[in-house]
Symmetry: C2
Subunit: 585 residues, 2 copies
C-alpha cells in the first residue's frame, strides 16, 4: 500500500481532465498488476481475484473512481449470469485474466432504467448467421457506461432483438469494440468519453453508436434465452432474469452508501472534536463543536444510520443470495420483492435542514419581552397575541393567509414549550446557557418554522401586491404559485398542525388533495413561468436547459470538445493497458 | 456579450486548477475593462459602476466564480461602512478605479462566524504610532477570503485591537499586502491560495499570516470606533456596527440563492419537458417526465419557492435599507432583528427524499393480495394483519421494537388510504395507471416509510444478534445506537404517528426527551465508534479526518502543494492585472 507507484505525484484535483484519466489508468493497472502477482504467489484463484478486485479495491486509492472496476463488478458477473457454458468457456477466463477488458452498456442517451424504452436494435440476418446492431438515432447511443470511452475493448450490449420480422425483447450481446492489437475502434462504431462530471472523472464514462455493426449469432448471451440457427427465439423462464445485473448493482449501491456514510461520519466526528466554535458558557473557552447539541444531532444519527444501513445492506445481500439459489432451481418468486426492495433502498436518502441557533436565541429573547407586555419588532410581532392570551388551539382553515398564520401559531406554541423547557432545566440547576444548549433541537426547529412562515408571508404579500396591477389570468397563475408553496410547506409540518391547530384528519386529506390539484393547475404554465425568469442560454450555460430544447445534440457537441476525444487511441493504451493485458507490466 | 475574449476557448472543466485560475483572471479583467469603457462613454458614475460590477456580472460568464467580485461586494462596501471621511478620500476612488484591488479577511483557519474567537492581534505601538499585526499560531491565519491568494494587493483585516495593555474588541484595518509595482508579497506576510474546492475554483480563495507586520495607526478604519494618538480607544455607538459587512453578505446570499434556484428550476423544467421516461398508460408511448406527478412534486414547488425566496430577499433588502437609514441617525434598534433574520434565511434550505414508485406499485399489488387472504413475502408480511383486521389505531409505546412496528402500522394505514384513493379515481373514470399516477405523492411517501421501517428492522435485528456475544458495556452502546436511529426516524413522521397510532402529545414530548438523552449518551463514545470503523488515513484521504487530529498542519501542507503556490507571483499579474490596474488593457 505504500508503494510509490500507487500514489499520485501531485493531488489529482489540481490536474486537468485528461491528466486525471491518464494518471488513473496508470495507477489502476499498477495496483491490479501487483495484486494479481501477490495472489499468484499464494496459489492463484480466479474467483478470489475477481471478488477482491471488485469489493475491496479502488475507492481508497483512486478517488476519481477506478475505470477498471466495471470490468469486475458488471462485465464478468454478466458473463456468468447470461453466458451459456460454451460462452463462459470462451470469455470468462480471458476476462478474469484481463486479456480482454469489458464494460456493460445498457443506458442510452435518451433512456435509462425503463428497459423497454431502449432503442438499440439487434436484427438477425439468417443469410449470414449474424446479428446486425444499429443505433437508429442519436438518442439510441449507449451513454454513461464506465470505462467505455477509451479503456475497454469489449462490451456487453443490451439491445432489442428482432428475428424473422418479430420483436423478442431486450437481450444481452457480447460485442468486441476495439482492435486487440492497436486498440483502434472497429469499423461501424463511434466511440468516445462523455466529458467532465461532478465526481467519477477517472471512470472514463463513454458513448457507443452502432451503424450496421455485425456480430456472430453465437455472441448473443444464451444462458437464459436462445436464438436458434433458423431464427427461432426461445424465451427465458422469466423476463426478469435478463435484468439480474442491474439488480446486483442496486444491491451493491446500498452497501457502498453505507460505506460512504461511515467514512463521512468518521471525518465529521473527528473534525468536530478538533474544531472549536462559540461558547456555551460565556465565561469559558469556545467548546468543541461536538458539544453543541445542534451539532450532535447532525453527526450522531449519521453514525447510527451508517450502522443501520450496513445492517440493511447485509440483509439485502442475504436476500440476493437466497434469490440466486432459488434461480438455479427455476424459482423466481422472490425476484420482484428483491427488485422492489433494492430500488427502494437505492432511492432513499436524507438531508437535514438547519437554521441558525442565533435566531432561536433571538426568538426566546423577544418571547420573554412579549410575556412582559413589551412591543415587538414587525417580523416577530405576531408572537404578542400568543404571549398574552391563554393557550388555545389555532382555528385551522386552508385558505392561504390562514395557513401562514398557522405557521406563526406553531412557532409561538413551540416557542412557549421550548421556553418552559429552558426554565425547567434552569430550575434543575443548569446555567441558562447550558439549558439553552440542551434545548437546541427544539429551538432550531422552531426557528426554521418561524423562518418558513416569514418566507410564505413575504411571498403572499408580494403576489397580492402584484395582482393589483396584473391582468386577471396572470393574477390567477401568481396566486396558484403562492398556494402551491404554502401547501407544500404546510404538508411538511403536519405533526405540528395536528398538535397546535384544530386541523382534523379529513382536513389533512383535503389539504393533500388541494396540493395535488395545485400541481396539476401549474403544470401547463411551468415552461412559461421559467421562460419568464428570462435567463439567456449563455447565462444558463446548460446543455440540458437551453431554450431550443436540442438536448441531445448539445450534449454530444459538448462531449466532443473533450481533449480525450481528439484522438482515437489514448497513449495510456500503449503505456499501461497493453502491457498489463499482455502480463508484461 | 458575444466578444470572443469573454468566452473560454475550451470548457474550463477540462482545464487544470492553475489553468482555471489564469483563464478566469484573463476573462474577468477583459469583461470589467470593457464595461468600464462603455460606462465612461455614457458619463462615468463610480457608484453605478460598483453596483453594476457587484450585482449583475460574474456568475454567468465566469462559472468558476469571479475573483474580482469580492472587491466590489465586500472591499469597497467595507471602506464605506468603516472608513472615516478622510480614509474614504484616501482609498475609495482608487478602489473604484481598480487602481488597488482588495479582499476582506475575517475568517481564520480555526475560527469562522464566532467573531470573538478570532486570534489575529493588532497591537498599538505608541513609540512609532504604528499598529503591529500578528498571527500567534497557525489557526490564526486568515483563511478563505476570496482573491486573497494571488489576486489582490490590499485587504481589510479584522483583528483584535490592544492598546496600553488593554483589549478593545475586533476592529477593521486596511492592510497593503503586495507591492504595487512587482506584486511581490510584502515582508512579514505569508500569502497563498488554499487549493481546490468543490466549486468556486476561479475565486482564488487565499490565506494570509502576519509576523510583526506594521501599519500606520491611521490605517485602522475609524468611522465608528477611534484610536487616538495616545492609545485611547473610543468605542463605536454599537458593537454590531463592525459586523455590518457580514450582515450585508448574508442579505446578498438570500438573493443569490433565489437566483440559483430560479436557474435550476429553469433547467429542470425544460429538460423534464424534453426527456421521456416510462409509460403511464402501457398502450401509449413514454411520457414527458413532467407528466409524472412524482416529478411535478420535485419541480413545481421549486418554481414557487424561487419566487417566494425572491420576494423574501426583496423584503429582507428593504429591512436592510431601513436599518441603514436608522444607523445614520444612530438608531440601532432593528439591527439584532435584521441580523437574526439574515442568519436564519441564510441557513434554511430544503431537500427531498424520494423513493422508487416501483416499490409503491409493488406494495399496492401485495396489499391487494393480502386483502384476498394470500400469503405475503417476508419484508411485507406485516401488512397481512392490517389487511385482515378492521381499522384501529396502533397502540403506541416508545420501546424500540414497538416504534419499528409503528412504522409498519403507518405504512399499512397509508397504503389502505392510497389504495382507496386509487379505486375512487378508477370509479371516477380514470384508467388504473392514471389513477396510480395521480396518487403518486401518497405512494412515494408510504414507500419511503416502508423502506425506513425495513432499515430500522434490519438494524434492530443485527444489533440484538450482536448483543448475544458482545460484552455487557459494548452491548449497551450498540443498543443506544439503535435507539438513536429509531428515535430520529420516528421524530420525522410525528404527523403520521399522531394520526395512525395512539401517541398523545405528552408521548411526543417524552420521545423528544429520550432522543435528546440518547444523543447525550452516545456523545462520549462517538470517536471510539468511528475509530472502530477502522478506515486507515490513506483510505480516508482527508485532511480534516486524519487519525492524529493534526488538522491545520495537514490543511496547510495540502494547500502548499497547489501549483499556484510554487511561485510568489503568478504570470497573470503581468499579463492582465497590472495592465488592467494601470488602465492599459
Amino acid at each position: 500500500m505504500n508503494q510509490p507507484e500507487f500514489r499520485d505525484s501531485v493531488p489529482l484535483h489540481f490536474a486537468s481532465h485528461q491528466e486525471v484519466y491518464e494518471e488513473t489508468i496508470r495507477k489502476a493497472t499498477a495496483i491490479f498488476s501487483k495484486t494479481r502477482e501477490l495472489l499468484k504467489k499464494q496459489g492463484y484463484d480466479a474467483n478470489n481475484f475477481v471478488n477482491f478486485m471488485d469489493i475491496m479495491l479502488g475507492d481508497g486509492f483512486i478517488r476519481e473512481v477506478n475505470p477498471l472496476r466495471i470490468h469486475f463488478s458488471m462485465f464478468i458477473p454478466s458473463i456468468k449470469a447470461h453466458g451459456s457454458a460454451e460462452q463462459q468457456d470462451r470469455w470468462l477466463q480471458k476476462a478474469v485474466n484481463c486479456e480482454i477488458i469489458g464494460s456493460y452498456a445498457q443506458t442510452e442517451l435518451g433512456h435509462g432504467t425503463f428497459l423497454r424504452g431502449l432503442e438499440t436494435t439487434a436484427t438477425f440476418d439468417e443469410d449470414t448467421d449474424e446479428i446486425v446492431i444499429n443505433s437508429p438515432r442519436l438518442s439510441s447511443y449507449k451513454w454513461w457506461p464506465g470505462a467505455l470511452g477509451h479503456t475497454v475493448n469489449h462490451c456487453i450490449v443490451m439491445a432489442k432483438l428482432y428475428s424473422k420480422g418479430r420483436y423478442h425483447g431486450v437481450n444481452p450481446f457480447m460485442v468486441q469494440i476495439r482492435d486487440e492489437e492497436t486498440h483502434m475502434p472497429l469499423s461501424g462504431l463511434e466511440i468516445g468519453e462523455i466529458g467532465h462530471k461532478v465526481g467519477f472523472n477517472g471512470v472514463n464514462n463513454g458513448f457507443l453508436g452502432f451503424k450496421n455493426f455485425r456480430i456472430p449469432r453465437s455472441n448473443m448471451l444464451m444462458k437464459n434465452a436462445k436464438l436458434l440457427r433458423d431464427g427461432t427465439y426461445q424465451k427465458p423462464i422469466s423476463s426478469v432474469l435478463n435484468y439480474g445485473t442491474m439488480v446486483f448493482v442496486r444491491v451493491i449501491i446500498t452497501r457502498n452508501m453505507a460505506q460512504l456514510l461511515a467514512k463521512a461520519a468518521t471525518i465529521a466526528v473527528r473534525y468536530s472534536c478538533v474544531r472549536r466554535q462559540s461558547v456555551i458558557d460565556p465565561n469559558k473557552p469556545e467548546v468543541q463543536v461536538i458539544d453543541h447539541q445542534t451539532q450532535q444531532v447532525k453527526l450522531l444519527p449519521q453514525i447510527a444510520k451508517a450502522i443501520a444501513l450496513k445492517a440493511t445492506a447485509d440483509n439485502l445481500w442475504k436476500m440476493y443470495e437466497a434469490t440466486q439459489v432459488d434461480l438455479e432451481t427455476g424459482n423466481t418468486d422472490r425476484l420482484p420483492e428483491l427488485h422492489a426492495m433494492a430500488c427502494c433502498l437505492k432511492a432513499v436518502s436524507s438531508a437535514d435542514t438547519a437554521a441558525g441557533v442565533e435566531t432561536a436565541r433571538y426568538l426566546v429573547k423577544v418571547w420573554n419581552q412579549a410575556l412582559k407586555g413589551q412591543r415587538l419588532m414587525p417580523t416577530v410581532r405576531y408572537l404578542e397575541q400568543y404571549a398574552t392570551n391563554s393557550v388555545k388551539r389555532f382555528a385551522w382553515s386552508d385558505s392561504t393567509p390562514v395557513i401562514i398564520e398557522a405557521f406563526q401559531a406553531v412557532t409561538a406554541n413551540r416557542l412557549r414549550l421550548a421556553n418552559e423547557h429552558i426554565q425547567q432545566r434552569v430550575k434543575a440547576g443548569r446555567t441558562p446557557q447550558e439549558a439553552t444548549n440542551e434545548t437546541g433541537l427544539e429551538l432550531v426547529r422552531l426557528a426554521e418554522i418561524h423562518c418558513r412562515g416569514f418566507i410564505l408571508q413575504s411571498a403572499y404579500a408580494a403576489i397580492e401586491q402584484a395582482c393589483q396591477t396584473a391582468s386577471q389570468p396572470l393574477g390567477e397563475v401568481l396566486r396558484e404559485i403562492c398556494r402551491l408553496v404554502v401547501y407544500d410547506e404546510a404538508l411538511r409540518i403536519t405533526g405540528d398542525l395536528l398538535r397546535f391547530t384544530t386541523m382534523s384528519d379529513p382536513d389533512l386529506v383535503e389539504l393533500q388533495r388541494k396540493y395535488e390539484a395545485s400541481l396539476g393547475a401549474i403544470r401547463p404554465n411551468a415552461v412559461s413561468i421559467v421562460d419568464a425568469f428570462d435567463y439567456p442560454d449563455f447565462i444558463l450555460g446548460s446543455t440540458l436547459g437551453a431554450y431550443d430544447g436540442n438536448v441531445y445534440e448539445r450534449l454530444f457537441e459538448d462531449a466532443m470538445k473533450s481533449p480525450l476525444n481528439q484522438e482515437p487511441v489514448n497513449r495510456t493504451f500503449e503505456l499501461y493497458l497493453k502491457p498489463f493485458m499482455r502480463g508484461k507490466l
